[in-house]
Each structure stands twice: as structure tokens, then as C-alpha cells.
């Protein structure tokens, strides 16, 4: 079946079985391997993408659910050669180790900051509690998201 949607700001059409998982469509058919899979059952958050701006688990979505939607994957977050402030903060604050949880973690953070631009540390921990990271112990991730939120808030005021 042909499925058309907006991916990282551009219209795309893929020809895939309607029951194919979104994570497979992205990784295999569209070669966007920034979206990771680490459990395949909705328990780790590694496959997080943004659908209509909200964080969704692409391992639990079927291709047909993408129809006419606006989708952002980690590859579409930076714009004009500049990192998104959350990406920038992840680099700067040491929130990245192996990096396999990173795309999902960043997109979960982007979703959070859209809903709650100045979250507390506790709110951040709550918001990313569905995103597992085996490397960092989360402290640097929380710091990075806090820093990004402040930076983004300042940017808006200007």
C-alpha cells in the first residue's frame, strides 16, 4: 500500500504493507537509522519519534498510522546546519555515552519542553522515565535538558 506523510518537513510516499511497523519503515525503507530499536515492545523509548509534535513509540505504530501525519525523526531535528538546543546541550553536558538511547531521549525531551518549557529536575525525570539509558545514570541527561530549557526560554524572550 502507498502511504503518504510528512517526514522531517518533506512529503514522502512509501510503498509498504500497511501492517509494517513504523520503526522498520524508517530504518529499512527510508534508511533513517537514527531511530533505534532496543526492545520492540514499548518498554525502552529508544524508538521514539515525534508525530504531530508528540513523542510516540515507533515500534508500536503501524505504517498506516502515519498517513497524512507530520513526523519528525532525530535526523530532522537540526535545522539550517545548527543543532537543536536539546542536541547541543546533550553534547555539551556529557549526556551522551554509547548514544543508542540518545535519539529517543532527545525527542522525548523536545516533546516535554514543548508542553512544559521550564520543567523542574523532577519533572524531567518523570518525563524521560520511559526512556531507558544503560550508560549514563541519567544525571547528565537531566542537566542537559534543564540547560536546554533555560536556553530555549531565553531565546524566546529575545
Amino acid at each position: 500500500m502507498n502511504i503518504s506523510f510528512h517526514l522531517n518537513g518533506r512529503p514522502v510516499t512509501v510503498r509498504v504493507p500497511s501492517g509494517k511497523r513504523v520503526v522498520d519503515v524508517l530504518r529499512q525503507d527510508l534508511n533513517l537509522t537514527g531511530t533505534k530499536e532496543a526492545c520492540g515492545s514499548g518498554e525502552c523509548g529508544a524508538c521514539t519519534i515525534l508525530v504531530e509534535g508528540r513523542a510516540r513509540l515507533s515500534c508500536l505504530m503501524l505504517a498506516v498510522q502515519l498517513k497524512e501525519r507530520h513526523v519528525v525523526t532525530i535526523e530532522g531535528l537540526a535545522s539550517g546546519g545548527l543543532l537543536h538546543p536539546v542536541q547541543e546541550a546533550f553534547v555539551e553536558y556529557g549526556a551522551v555515552q554509547c548514544g543508542f538511547c540518545t535519539p529517543g531521549m532527545i525527542l522525548a525531551a523536545v516533546d516535554l519542553l514543548k508542553r512544559n518549557p521550564l520543567p523542574s529536575g523532577e519533572e524531567i525525570r518523570e518525563a524521560v522515565s520511559g526512556n531507558l539509558c544503560r550508560c549514563t545514570g541519567y544525571a547528565r541527561i537531566v542537566d542537559a535538558i534543564l540547560a536546554a530549557s533555560r536556553r530555549m526560554a531565553r531565546g524566546k524572550k529575545r
Partner: protein
């Protein structure tokens, strides 16, 4: 933090160079290879813990549309055996099934769906044998043998270290404590499960991309197991999406290479799902540990006895070496005049255990540091004071009779802890009473040996090239599994050559391009490769300066300085771009290589050649002290770690950001190990299959962590550093265990400390049991 265009300097908190590609989703992990529209490979696993293979029925699978081939042991031309020390593990089962995860048939198909369908249609005819799943039962002479050819039955390896006269020493003690501890299996749970991609090239070479810590050893193992020419196997090792020891040893490699050689011209991909990773991936060894310790009337630590039993599962993997490291560390960083420590690594039909950050030490230290608290209490001393009194100093003889050499910061770590604001805050935390909660504080000392020990050469070869672009390229043959050693390599070379990050390039491990370096493991990665790289970078620097000096006809090269992107003649201020200079050199002049072998102990605390081969003794140790503040909910039994501090002695710090990542990450894994992670295996059958039953710490389970460092100079280390990858893993379990005991007034000997166990321990009517 430094801007990315300032010259790289040792000691600065540079952001990791790999982080940018990772936040952009551009870094290509082994799991991300879909090149050349690959076929999918997967294995049919035995599904029973012990048996004899009678027949494999593949006919039905072969009729599934899209199936390319089904391979069995009959298709293997080589030894069909893999393993690091004992080669006891088949690529595909040929006679005996020894655990549920044993691979029996390999299927290659056009799609994942066809692969799954075909795997379901393979029927195995296996004569079931009684399974051995209990450690002590396995040692019983009447138990079924798991490896008939192994002379010691189900005992893979054992060892004893003895010092002084233990029995008599215990008689002399006024205070004695003893206990059995039960430590669970721990799953690595790296987010990137075992993955790889392979293709047979036209010239007969198998190119294999794998998520591995050990590309060079893999190459030899794959070649031997499959009967291939070593030089016809090329292993490429991208950044791992986590490994922690679980990718130290073959996972997908031989299977993928076998698939590739039977599907010429087609690429093949294999990627275990999470359940398969639970079933077939190596674990941290489950262990049963007995300790007895005694102190004199004046409270001096006088005698120690320990018995360590490790369940290595169906294969050696690295089980013997893990046991030996535990044995060596069982006396901790203490002066103990009399000790006897015995260790046993035992084959069972349980899942395979192998390397996992800490490598046998988290188990023993988990028990030892609680015994130290128990003994301190019996002798009427505070935990900190007792440890300060007995902690080793340079030149001491340690608990197993080895001279303490190299930088030794355990005393300094203890001093730093007690003087810190965090320690005072922890005491204040404990003093505050909250309804239905009990609070406690606990500490634990840690030490961790580095490298392979006295026999197995701990060697790395570094290579660095000045490219015609003017960039310096580091050929790093040791894997970056997430710890950031690749970035540290660039920092080391950049520091020596006075370059910034944009002027540095990196080639990740590739058996064709980089030189052999050994494994990314054993806290040796940066230490061993870093030392080799220093020598290579210095040689190249000298050559460049000499060349420029000769070109400019100056009296000696001391007048020439490397600056970012150029060389400068200091007296005249004249400069030449490195890109121009490089063009004047011929290709071999632009490359420098160097080799480093880590120092080894010259002492012989043990004559047993097997123990020396398995790594005893080490000569360089990192140290630390961990302190945890916990809150126990008296209604639910839930334990929350509220405060945490770790003081570490890992020598000088090359990049503060990276060592903090290592220590914090290890603490989080240790919190999981202590409180919530439990792999459930029933009579050899894995019951834990996903993250809904195996509960990893999430952001709500890990507190803010305070980390501090005692930066003693390690003379043999690159810029004075020592390994930092594992030492942080040895502390959390006992620190938390001691804190919980402090909170509830009872000690629990079975880990993890689940709410049920904690509630039972608090209930005066229920016994926690000292014996297992």
C-alpha cells in the same frame, strides 16, 4: 568547558567528539547496517537446557518462500568451537545441547518475516538429559557431566590463595563474623542488542561488521571455528550501543560469517531481539559467597576466610578469568595477615555467564564490604574508622600476599569522603525522621586491578598518520563501546601535537586498517592504547619538526613548534601549513606506529600456572570509596537511594567529563544490581524475557550523584591515569546493602533487595537466614 576549536589539552573537559554524530542520529552502529539489501540470518535455539542432539529436521523450513538456506554443524568446515580460554562452545550444536540458548540451525532468508516463519518450522530431535542448575549440586560427583571431555567434571576452574595460618589466627580473634551471600545474575541490557552484518567479497574475504569489544580476537576465533584463512576474515567494529563486557566474546560473528560464505554475493544481517539477547547473551555470574572474618580484642583485622562459587553456565566463555579476578580481589584493599580464599567456577546448564563490568569483583566486594561492616560493628568500631585503620598503603603486603605497588589512593579516598560536605549532608539526611520511612547510610571501599595479569600479553599497537589534508588521523584498534576512549585518543594525540578537534580524524577498529590492540575491557582500554599512542604521536611529532627544521635549514628542531594546522619557526615567526608539509613527505614518513605492553607483577603469590594464566596477580589498581544514603518505606519495603557519593582514585584525569560519565554510569548499574535487577532462571530455563520483567533503573531510580577524585599520579599510566571503567561498579551493592542494614537494623543476604525481601527482613517474625 572548552570550545571545539581550542587545542586539545589533557585535563580539559572536552565534549566527546563522537557525541555530535550521535545526537544527530548519524552514527552508524552495527545494528544500523542494511547495506546492499541484506538477507536476514537467525538461529534456531535448543530450547532445552541439557540433551543429546539426535536429528535436525529442516525440510519444512526450506519450503518457506524466501528462505535461502538452512545450515547446521555439517556445513562447518572448521573446529566448530569458540571460546577465549577453553574452546568449548560450538558455533552450531553438533552433539550436545548444554543450555537453552544453544544455537542448532542457522536460517538465512530474504526477509525477517520469512526468517521467523522458517525458524518456527525447524524441528529438533533432542534426547533430554537431566539438567544441572544448582551450583553445589553441579559439583556433586554423581551429577550429570556437562562437558564429558573436561577432566574436572563440572568444575571449570578452582583456585586457592593462602597466607599465614588462618585457623590458628581465627582462634586468636576476639570478634568473629560469618555469612553466606547470594548474588544474582545481572543482564548487561545494553540498548543495542547483539548485531552484525557480513558479506563474502569477490576476492574471498568475509567482511564482518559487528557490535563487538574484541575485533582482533574475533577474527582468530571465526577463522578457526569455520576453517577460514585468518587473512580472509575482516572485522570492522563501529561504536557499540553499549557492551559492558557482554560483547567481549563472540555473539553473532561466527554465525554471520557462516551465513555469508554460503550466500556468495549477498550481504547478510543478524540482529538479536531483546528476548534472544536475554536467552543467549552472557550475564554477570550468579554467585554464592561465604565469608568469615575475625578481629583481635583490640579491633585489629586479623583473619579472613572466603569461599566463592561462580555459576558460569554452559561454557567457559570468560568464567575462569572472572573467577580468578574475584579470587584476587576477595581480600579487598586491606592489610590482613592471615587469609585463605578459595574460588570455584562451575559449569551448569544455566545461561552462559561471562564478562560484565567488574568481572567477578562486584560479587566478592558486595560480600566483603558487608562483612567488614559486620566485623566493625562486632568490634565496636565505626565503618569508616575501621576501614581507615586497615586500608593498604603503597609498599604494604595486601590480603593475598602481594606487594601494593603503583599509586594507592584508598586512604586518600577515605579522607576525602569524611571531609566532604556530602558526607555531612548524608549524616544529616539520616538524622531526619520521617513517618513510615527509615533512613540509613552505608559505605564501601573498592579496588580494581587493571589489565590481563602476568601471562597474557597486555599489548596495544597505535598508529597515527599526518594526512595530506593536514589532519592527524588516529587509527584506534581498540573499540569504543560507549566509554569515550576514542575521544580520549584524539585528546591525547591532539595534546601532544598541539592540534584542535577539527584537525584530528579517527579510524575505528578494523582488522584491515588498524593494528592489533587487544580487547576493550579490563579497565585497560585507554591505559594500554593511550601509552602506545603517546609513543607514536611523539615519534611523528619529532619527525615533523625535524623535517621542517631541515627544510628551513635551522640549526635544530627545537626552534620549530607545532601549532594548530601548521609548524612555526619560533625565531623568525615563519609558518608552514601542515597540509603543505605533508605533501613533501612520502606516505610512510607520514605514519608512526608504536607498541606498548602493560607492566606485570614480578611476584608469585601463587605457583599454580592456571591461576597465573587466568590473571593473578595484577600490579596496578584503581581505588575508591562509595557512600549511599537510602530511605526504606516501612509499608512497602521499597528502597530508594536518595544520596550517593563516590570518591575515586583513577590516577590523573584526562577529561573530567568522561570519568564522571564512567563513575555515574557504573553507580546506576550498581543500583540496579543491588535493588531491582533479577534474571530469573528455573531449572535452566530463562524466565526473564523483556524489560517489563527485568526492571532497569530509570531516571526516577537514580539520584543525583556526587563524584570526587583523588588524583594521584600513576607513573606507568598515560599522563598519570589509571582505568576508570570498572571500579565504580564494585561499590554500589555493598554501600547500599550496608545502608539498608543501617536503616532497618537487619541485614539481607539475598540480592537484589526487593521490597518482599526488605519487608521480610523488617518483620521480626520472619527470618532472613544466614545460610543459603
Amino acid at each position: 568547558m572548552m570550545a571545539s576549536d581550542s587545542p586539545l589539552e589533557i585535563g580539559s573537559a572536552f565534549p566527546r567528539q563522537d557525541a555530535v554524530a550521535k545526537v544527530l542520529g548519524r552514527e552508524k552502529f552495527a545494528a544500523d547496517y542494511y547495506d546492499q539489501n541484506p538477507l536476514w540470518a537467525g538461529v534456531k535455539r535448543a530450547g532445552i537446557p541439557h540433551g543429546r542432539l539426535k536429528a535436525i529436521h529442516t525440510e519444512a523450513a526450506l519450503t518457506v518462500p524466501g528462505v535461502v538456506c538452512v545450515l547446521t554443524h555439517r556445513d562447518i568446515r572448521g573446529s566448530n568451537r569458540q571460546g577465549v580460554v577453553r574452546k568449548d562452545q560450538p558455533v552450531l550444536v553438533d552433539s550436545k545441547v548444554r543450555h537453552c540458548g544453544d544455537p542448532v540451525a542457522l536460517v538465512v532468508a530474504e526477509t525477517k518475516e520469512a526468517l521467523e516463519r522458517a525458524l518456527r518450522r525447524i524441528a529438533l530431535d533432542i534426547k533430554v538429559l537431566p539438567a544441572v542448575s544448582d551450583i553445589l549440586e553441579a559439583l556433586d560427583a554423581k551429577s550429570p557431566r556437562i562437558h564429558e571431555d573436561h577432566e574436572n567434571g563440572n568444575l571449570l576452574l578452582h583456585g586457592t590463595l593462602e597466607k599465614g595460618r588462618v585457623e590458628q589466627a581465627f582462634q586468636e580473634c576476639a570478634h568473629r563474623v560469618e555469612a553466606w551471600f547470594h548474588l544474582p545474575w545481572q543482564e548487561h541490557a545494553y540498548l543495542e542488542t547483539e548485531a552484525g552484518w557480513a558479506v563474502l567479497q569477490k576476492d574471498g574475504e568475509v567482511t564482518l561488521v559487528a557490535s563487538t569489544q574484541t575485533p582482533f580476537r574475533d577474527r582468530a576465533e571465526v577463522a578457526d571455528a569455520l576453517g577460514l584463512d585468518l587473512h580472509k576474515v575482516r572485522i570492522v567494529a563501529p561504536f557499540c550501543g553499549g557492551a559492558f563486557g557482554g560483547k567481549d566474546g563472540i555473539t553473532v560473528q561466527s554465525l554471520l560469517a557462516l551465513a555469508a560464505i554460503h550466500c556468495p554475493g549477498r550481504a547478510v544481517k543478524m540482529w538479536w531481539d531483546r528476548e534472544e539477547s536475554f536467552i543467549a547473551g552472557a550475564k554477570r555470574h550468579r554467585a554464592m559467597i561465604y565469608y568469615r572474618a575475625g578481629a583481635t580484642a583490640s579491633g585489629v583485622l586479623h583473619a579472613l576466610e572466603a569461599k566463592l562459587y561462580y555459576d558460569t553456565g554452559a561454557y567457559d566463555h570468560l568464567g575462569g578469568v572472572v573467577m580468578a579476578l574475584g579470587l584476587e580481589h576477595a581480600g579487598g584493599p586491606y592489610r590482613i595477615p592471615h587469609s585463605r580464599i578459595q574460588a570455584f567456577s562451575v559449569y551448569t546448564n544455566n545461561p552462559v555467564s561471562g564478562a560484565f563490568r567488574g568481572f567477578g569483583v562486584p560479587q566478592v566486594n558486595g560480600a566483603l564490604e558487608q562483612i567488614m561492616d559486620m566485623l566493625a560493628e562486632a568490634a565496636g568500631q565505626a565503618p569508616v574508622a575501621f576501614r581507615r585503620r586497615h586500608a593498604v598503603r603503597r609498599g604494604d603486603i595486601n590480603a593475598i600476599g602481594v606487594t601494593v605497588q603503583g599509586s594507592t589512593g584508598i586512604q586518600a579516598c577515605l579522607d576525602t569522603l569524611v571531609e566532604s560536605a556530602s558526607w555531612k549532608a548524608m549524616k544529616a539526611f539520616k538524622a531526619r525522621e520521617i513517618p513510615f520511612k527509615r533512613r540509613g547510610v552505608g559505605i564501601a571501599c573498592v579496588m580494581h586491578g587493571m589489565g590481563y595479569g602476568p601471562v597474557v600479553p597486555d599489548v596495544a599497537h597505535a598508529k597515527i598518520e599526518l594526512q595530506t589534508s593536514g589532519q592527524f588521523c588516529v587509527f584506534c584498534g581498540v573499540v569504543d563501546m560507549g566509554q569515550g576512549n576514542a575521544a580520549t585518543c584524539l585528546q591525547i594525540a591532539g595534546h601532544i601535537l598541539n592540534q584542535d578537534m577539527p584537525r584530528m580524524a579517527l579510524v575505528l577498529p578494523d582488522t584491515q586498517k588498524t593494528l592489533p590492540c587487544g580487547s576493550s575491557s579490563a579497565s585497560r582500554t585507554t591505559y594500554t592504547y593511550g601509552n602506545a599512542l603517546i609513543a607514536a604521536a611523539c615519534a611523528l611529532k619529532k619527525r615533523i619538526l625535524q623535517y621542517a627544521g631541515e627544510l628551513w635549514m635551522v640549526p635544530d628542531e627545537k626552534e620549530v613548534l607545532l601549532v594548530p594546522g601548521a609548524v612555526r619557526h619560533l625565531p623568525s615567526g615563519r609558518e608552514m601549513a601542515l597540509a603543505d608539509l605533508a605533501k613533501g613527505l612520502n606516505p610512510s614518513e607520514r605514519v608512526a606506529t608504536a607498541r606498548f605492553r602493560a607492566p606485570v607483577s614480578r611476584e608469585m603469590p601463587v605457583k599454580d600456572p592456571a591461576l597465573r594464566l587466568h590473571g593473578i596477580p595484577h600490579v596496578i589498581f584503581s581505588y575508591g570509596v562509595h557512600a549511599a544514603g537510602v530511605e526504606v518505606d516501612t509499608l512497602t519495603g521499597q528502597v530508594q537511594v536518595k544520596k550517593y557519593m563516590a570518591v575515586s582514585d583513577c590516577g590523573r584525569i584526562l577529561n573530567p567529563q568522561l570519568i564522571r560519565q564512567q563513575i555515574e554510569g557504573a553507580i546506576a548499574q550498581g543500583i540496579g544490581y543491588a535493588l531491582q535487577e533479577a534474571v530469573i532462571v528455573e531449572r535452566g530455563v530463562m524466565k526473564t524475557k523483556d524489560f517489563s520483567t527485568y526492571i532497569l533503573p530509570c531516571a526516577l531510580d537514580v539520584p543525583e550523584m556526587e563524584t570526587a577524585y583523588v588524583e594521584l599520579e600513576e607513573d606507568s599510566g598515560p599522563f598519570g591515569m589509571k582505568g576508570a571503567g570498572e571500579v565504580g561498579m564494585d561499590g554500589p551493592l555493598p554501600a547500599i546493602g550496608n545502608a539498608v542494614a543501617d536503616a532497618i537494623g537487619a541485614r539481607i543476604f539475598h540480592y537484589p533487595l526487593t521490597p518482599e525481601r526488605v519487608l521480610a527482613a523488617m518483620d521480626p517474625n520472619e527470618k532472613t537466614g544466614q545460610k543459603g
